[in-house]
């Protein structure tokens, strides 16, 4: 077991190294921060001086080496844009993104599972067909379109919900939450739905497929033959087994929700990490971009490592093979 764990951790470290190296090479092509940092009528000498101060006149390998050394000592550097420590910036933005992801996950699970069951139980019913058709729209509409349409309907036309921002937030230590105020909860709804939509359709379709699969298996037929109540068969026996892959997929999807909340955050001016990253890209704020990519890389590595280890714990065959 320890061996599995160690090899996983070794692989994780390697992945992180590759992620940071690839992102560093990419920064060469996103532009030059001096263009946004220097004043418009700066002289050539001024710009060269600034480049030297920032260390971006050095070869990429040297810059990368410095970055690695700094990161390993726990220092993510200072943002070029507003001269604040990057760790502080990320810590400020993390709660907003995580709360959005939590809401999106709750929404997609609480709607996706019942709808999936419905479609599996009555595959030819009117409701099931309607849900199926709508789910196609949900899966194929780009997030920014969904977001803007929701804003136009619920904020501009109906005036029920705010069109942007987090509303009133409450500070609990370093964590700022929108869950404790009415305006905070109202503000979570539209971006939450926008972010959840893809997830929701994915879960719905997965539950439907799994349910149909499970319902045609032998033990369900035997249960029916034994005369057990239909509710019991559907929800205690069938759904429970159908949910196993859903849990795995949801876990993995949380990672991508955090990483890909960028568009939703931009449309709704949600002050989370995605917005921080977008701004860093347009300013060529290298320390922030590097830290964000590292963070997202780390997130996926952690989730995947945990899932892998869990598999090993659950499935004795995997343990045997690696031992």
């Amino acid at each position: 077991m320890l061996k599995v764990l160690l090899s996983r951790l070794g692989q994780a470290a390697l992945v992180m190294l590759v992620v940071s190296a690839v992102s560093f090479v990419m920064f060469r092509y996103v532009g030059d921060p001096v263009a946004s940092m220097a004043r418009e009528n700066a002289s050539v000498e001024e710009k060269a001086e600034l480049r030297r101060t920032l260390g971006i006149d050095q070869p990429v390998v040297v810059q990368y080496g410095r970055f690695l050394a700094r990161t390993l000592s726990g220092d993510l550097g200072i943002s070029f844009r507003n001269q604040r420590p990057v760790t502080q910036l990320i810590a400020e933005r993390l709660p907003a993104t995580l709360e959005l992801v939590i809401i999106a996950t709750i929404l997609s699970l609480s709607l996706g599972i019942p709808l999936g069951v419905l479609c599996a139980l009555k595959p030819n019913g009117v409701a099931a067909r309607l849900v199926q058709a709508l789910s196609l729209i949900g899966i194929s509409t780009p997030t920014f379109v969904t977001g803007i349409v929701l804003i136009l309907v619920f904020a501009v036309t109906l005036g029920w919900l705010p069109s942007f921002g987090r509303g009133q937030v409450v500070e609990l230590g370093w964590w700022s939450t929108g869950f404790l105020t009415w305006s905070g909860l109202k503000s979570l709804l539209l971006p939450g739905i926008t972010l959840a939509l893809y997830q929701l359709t994915l879960i719905m379709r997965l539950v439907r497929a799994e349910m149909i699969d499970v319902l045609s298996s032998d033990y369900i037929r035997f249960a029916k033959a034994r005369g057990l109540p239909t509710r019991y068969i559907h929800f205690r026996l069938a759904l429970r087994n159908a949910l196993m892959p859903v849990i795995t997929v949801t876990g993995l999807q949380i990672g991508s929700l955090i990483a890909f909340a960028i568009i939703t955050e931009t449309v709704f001016q949600w002050p989370g990490m995605g917005l921080l990253f977008i701004q860093a890209v347009s300013f060529v704020d290298i320390p922030v971009m590097a830290a964000y990519l590292l963070f997202v890389g780390l997130l996926f590595v952690i989730i995947n490592t945990v899932v892998d280890i869990l598999y090993a714990v659950v499935d004795p065959r995997l343990r045997a093979r690696s031992a």
Partner: protein, 522 residues
């Protein structure tokens, strides 16, 4: 008993209404956010304009953008390179500290520190010296006519606060030093910062102890940046905002059609122009002589562009076509220079033939696609107009983040540039940055490699000319040479459009600053 209750109620209601009648909040939004609260740690004009609500400079711009006394009440030249400023008495910082000459000296020391980001804005200032508690001398490198213009952008910080918070020196990225000034602003200005949350919002409350008589009726400003254009417009229309600045051009019609909202417009100072390459070869035709070195070719390129069509189709009739490189409110502008060559494709073809290019030639045209209003569409139009007269134009557009570094490295033939003469708001900035040859600190944005000895000589003379009439004449003369020799091809003056709800009265300024100490809301 009953009457007593009614009386009580009416008093209570009256009190409530009294409160609500006095509390005037302006909620507004722009696509950019305040970068930092440290006035010397950035060079962005938006952040400068926001921090002006919190800090005061020694001199400031009034409603007509003329310079007027602020923290300094008067000034005079005691020597050609030394200016003496009498400071305003009885001014208090937001934390109650009294404003004196020590604050001015400490501010300039901080701004002139080698690690300060905004130091370039005051490159000619050597130091500030205290004469007595309310008198300060500012020394410049030789005579410098634009000192007051520069000072309008220097906000005075509180020395005592800086000492207490270890912020006497600016933050430094290279050494990893950050200061409390990045997130706290203690100034003498008309508003105090109540909270500052990047990307979420910044709230200001009125400073009731401001030294000046307020011309606004605000008690509170809530600034909420919204990056997405569509969301910002939606938030205005849904009543969550009172003002959006800027309002996207494509939505102006929709906003003015909506009941209860209106669009306010003003031409901005920013002029959009094309840089002409003066290098021996074009990137598009390596190994051959650059045709644009011939004046006739440059004239043909100007004559070939239908600026009226660009104004109507691309800019939705909101821009103003121009023939010179500075906007009308800026010193150095003259009506005589502001004459476009006029659209004449036949003449363009004739000029090209006379120059020896009857079949035209090839060039590249590079433009940003996210920096100026409808920049990409403007270039698409120009490329097709040039191609029509025989100049085969290869257009490439890209994001500002990669575009401007490439422009600085001279990777372009013809390229687009916008110039607003800010922060000094003076035509000299065009001479110094765009027209002068790139050497000795001049020509920082002269990416076409223009080198005209006549312009260079005039620029150096104007730099030290203390007689304002003579100085302006030099600016006008230089800009005339630039126009006649087609050093750049001016396109248009960018429009500035804001949208407000009815009952909001916010004056607009051509420098695109938002000055809410002139705002009134109902």
């Amino acid at each position: 008993m009953k009457t007593k209750l009614v009386a009580c109620l009416s008093v209570a209601v009256g009190a409530l209404m009294g409160v609500s009648a006095e509390a005037k909040t302006l909620r507004w939004s722009s696509p950019t956010d305040i970068t930092t609260l440290d006035p010397y740690a950035h060079t962005e004009s938006f952040t400068t304009s926001m921090l002006h609500h919190v800090f005061d400079p020694l001199v400031r711009r009034n409603r007509n953008l003329e310079l007027e006394p602020a923290l300094a009440v008067s000034w005079k030249n005691v020597a050609p390179d030394t200016w003496r400023f009498e400071l305003r008495k009885g001014v208090k910082f937001h934390n109650g500290d009294a404003f004196t000459a020590d604050d001015v000296v400490a501010s300039f020391d901080r701004l002139l520190d080698p690690t300060s980001r905004a130091r370039g804005n005051v490159a000619t200032i050597v130091k500030a010296v205290k004469v007595d508690d309310y008198t300060v001398d500012i020394m410049t490198q030789g005579p410098y006519p634009l000192l007051l213009n520069d000072l309008a952008g220097v906000y005075i910080m509180d020395k005592k606060w800086m000492q207490a918070n270890n912020a006497l020196k600016p933050g430094n990225i290279a050494t990893g030093v950050t200061t409390a000034a990045s997130t706290t602003a203690v100034g003498t200005g008309p508003f105090k910062i109540e909270s500052y949350k990047p990307d979420a919002g910044t709230n200001f409350v009125v400073n009731t102890d401001w030294w000046d008589k307020p011309q606004h009726n605000l008690t509170r400003i809530e600034f909420k940046p919204v990056k997405s254009d569509a969301t910002r417009v939606a938030a205005l229309l849904s009543g969550e905002l009172d003002l959006i600045a800027p309002a996207p051009l494509q939505d102006l019609q929709r906003i003015s059609a909506a009941p209860g909202f209106k669009v306010v417009e003003e031409p901005s100072l920013r002029l959009i122009m094309l840089t002409v390459p003066f290098r021996p070869e074009l990137k598009a035709m390596p190994g051959q002589k650059n045709p644009m070195l011939d004046l006739k070719v440059r004239q043909a390129m100007w004559h070939a562009i239908d600026f009226e069509a660009i104004k109507k189709r691309v800019m939705r009739d909101k821009s103003r076509n121009t023939g010179t490189l500075v906007a009308p409110p800026v010193p150095g502008y003259s009506k005589d220079n502001d004459q476009p060559f006029g659209y004449d494709p036949e003449k363009a073809k004739k000029l090209l033939a006379e120059a020896g290019y009857p079949n035209g030639f090839k060039t590249k045209l590079n433009c940003p696609n996210d920096r100026y209003i409808n920049d990409e569409q403007t270039c698409v139009a120009i490329a097709s107009m040039w191609t029509k007269v025989g100049i085969q134009t290869d257009l490439q557009t890209e994001s500002r983040a990669t575009y401007f570094p490439r422009q600085d490295r001279f990777e372009f033939d013809v390229s687009m540039v916008g110039w607003a003469t800010l922060p000094p708001m003076d035509g000299f900035s065009v001479l110094a940055s765009l027209l002068a040859e790139q050497k000795e600190g001049y020509g920082g944005s002269n990416s076409g490699g223009l080198a005209n000895p006549q312009i260079d000589a005039l620029t150096r003379k104007a730099a030290v000319e203390m007689d304002e009439t003579k100085r302006r004449a030099m600016l006008v003369e230089t800009l005339k040479i630039a126009r006649d020799s087609v050093a750049y091809i001016p396109i248009h003056q960018q429009p500035l459009a804001w949208a407000v709800r009815d009952g909001v009265d916010v004056p607009q300024f051509a420098d695109e600053y938002v000055r809410l100490w002139f705002a009134n809301v109902k």
